[in-house]
């Protein structure tokens, strides 16, 4: 059969990373449109409609503030506590939602996977993009709370787009890893709920880790946690909190590596997701 025309493609051969990335890029219009429609559709039946995109984060912050700031540690019910809280909670929750939804993204879309050929990475990445549509409006809430807390506009605010890009890359890479891991191990979903509870304290979302741990070395090791790193950098950008250089380095390295690693892992099972 060596005389075959060269243009035939072998359906069984492994997909190459470069071709795959091009394939995903070619469907960017799908990624931009379909998750947005879904996000809109979720609020369409409510009386207050898309206003929920603002009300939801506002209520969430209020509850966290009352529980952790006022009831549990009334001495911390300060404006600074509230500002740190809003940044931490919004960024942490977004990553958590993305990762948890991604672990079951293959399972939930089995019918689609068995019916049409498309790069399967669109499924977890669609979750990341869809989450962006509810995350971006919540930034209005964030700036409202921060300004209410007395933070004046600072030059660092100009770095916000870079932070959002970093956060997006981190979520995208982690969603690919989570989708692949959830495909290999079904029970990951319920386990993650508990892992995230630990991670929330380990990332200083509510109470600053620095209050409990004094060792500089330990704190630097903890910065390996990408969520702790990005929340730290974001707090510096938005409210001018103290920043450790380990957090900046950790965030940059994660952002550079996590997407290629995510794609590489996810691709390993590309042809098996329909099983």
């Amino acid at each position: 059969m060596s005389a075959d025309p060269p243009e035939l493609v072998d359906l069984g051969c492994p997909v190459k990373l470069g071709e795959y990335a091009r394939d995903v890029w070619a469907r960017r219009d799908y990624l931009l449109t379909v998750p947005r429609r879904e996000a809109r559709g979720r609020n369409a039946d409510f009386l207050l409609g898309q206003l929920w995109l603002i009300i939801n984060p506002a209520l969430m912050i209020t509850v966290y503030f009352v529980v952790f700031g006022v009831i549990i540690q009334s001495n911390r019910g300060s404006a600074d506590f509230l500002s740190r809280l809003v940044v931490g909670v919004l960024f942490f929750r977004t990553t958590q939602t993305v990762i948890q939804a991604s672990t079951s993204s293959i399972e939930r879309n089995r019918g689609l996977i068995r019916s049409i050929q498309f790069p399967r990475a669109l499924l977890p990445l669609g979750i990341v993009v869809g989450q962006m549509y509810s995350f971006l409006p919540s930034l209005i809430v964030m700036f409202a709370v921060v300004s209410f807390g007395g933070v004046e506009p600072m030059w660092q605010w100009l770095l916000l787009p870079a932070i959002l890009l970093a956060h997006f890359l981190l979520n995208a890479g982690l969603s690919l890893v989570a989708a692949r891991a959830g495909f290999a191990f079904n029970d990951l979903g319920p386990l993650l709920t508990h892992l995230f509870r630990v991670l929330m304290y380990g990332s200083g979302v509510i109470f600053p880790i620095e209050d409990y741990i004094e060792s500089e070395r330990v704190l630097n090791y903890l910065a390996i946690n990408p969520i702790y790193a990005i929340i730290g950098v974001t707090r510096w950008v938005v409210i001018g909190s103290d920043l450790r250089s380990a957090q900046v380095w950790s965030m940059v390295i994660w952002c550079l590596l996590v997407v290629p690693i995510g794609f590489g892992l996810f691709l390993g099972a590309e042809r098996r997701y329909g099983e």
């Binding site: 059969m1 493609v9 072998d10 359906l11 429609r37 068995r114 019916s115 050929q117 329909g274």
Partner: protein, 247 residues
């Protein structure tokens, strides 16, 4: 003229592993790392080697469970291959786009979703939407949610979206059984278009009148190629066989 292949299937075997039951004991599941207790292997295809060429319409026949749909799935690249090799000239189109459509959204929004998932850009979708609506013949219902459609309307819309870009390799599984006379005629025209643009149509059907229009017929039985050749002859042989096994 030397036939130019669009699909070459070489020594293809596919085995389904059906899992009957997972052990109810979590300890046991962990010890066997989640493997299933009873696995039944069903050989859906064995050592199938066929070649389809440009400009051909191929009918695929066989009893239920003979491997027709498995072969279509494998050629579309959707199911993993155990053994053998499949090469294609471009990504074959199966009418699977229906799985991407959302019953709660309107026909128009679904056209957009369907086209995007098939890999079109926004501009292309905008250009092609009207012709899809007309082809499916559902202009008056296009802004209604798809869950209000009759099953015929849904099938027409799915067919119209899936074939809106004339594919090089079109895989149809009983698709022509749906829709009224007018739509059937339009679908046949579209198949002609695939053939005319030097593509290949693979058609799983039970209807003799549809099968008679095919250039060649592939007859599968128990996962193996029973006969592959001239449509009249193969069809007669298959129908004799089917009648005999029904008596």
């Amino acid at each position: 003229m030397i036939p130019e292949p669009t699909v070459i299937v070489e020594d293809l075997s596919i085995t389904y592993r059906l899992r009957l039951d997972r052990s109810s004991s979590p300890v046991r599941n962990l010890l066997t790392s989640g493997r299933f207790r009873d696995v039944v292997e069903v050989q859906a295809l064995r050592n199938v080697s066929v070649q389809f060429n440009r400009g051909e319409t191929i009918g695929i026949v066989g009893s239920n469970g003979s491997g027709k749909s498995t072969l279509m799935q494998a050629i579309s690249g959707l199911s993993p291959i155990d053994q053998g090799r499949i090469r294609v000239s471009s990504q074959p189109t199966l009418l699977g786009v229906g799985a991407a459509l959302r019953p709660a959204l309107s026909g128009r929004q679904n056209i957009e979703i369907g086209c995007l998932v098939l890999g079109m850009r926004d501009e292309e979708v905008a250009e092609i939407t009207d012709s899809i609506i007309d082809f499916a013949g559902i202009r008056s219902a296009i802004d209604r949610p798809m869950r209000t459609y009759s099953s015929g309307m849904r099938a027409r819309l799915t067919f119209a979206i899936a074939t809106s870009r004339v594919p090089e390799i079109l895989l149809l599984d009983e698709a022509l059984a749906v829709g009224d006379r007018g739509f059937r005629k339009r679908s046949e025209e579209r198949m002609q278009a695939v053939r005319a643009s030097a593509g290949t149509v693979l058609l799983v059907s039970h209807s003799s009148s549809v099968l008679q229009t095919c250039d060649r017929i592939l007859w599968l039985e128990q996962g193996e190629v029973r006969l592959f050749g001239d449509s009249g002859e193969t069809l007669n042989a298959y129908e004799d066989y089917a009648d005999a096994s029904n008596d």
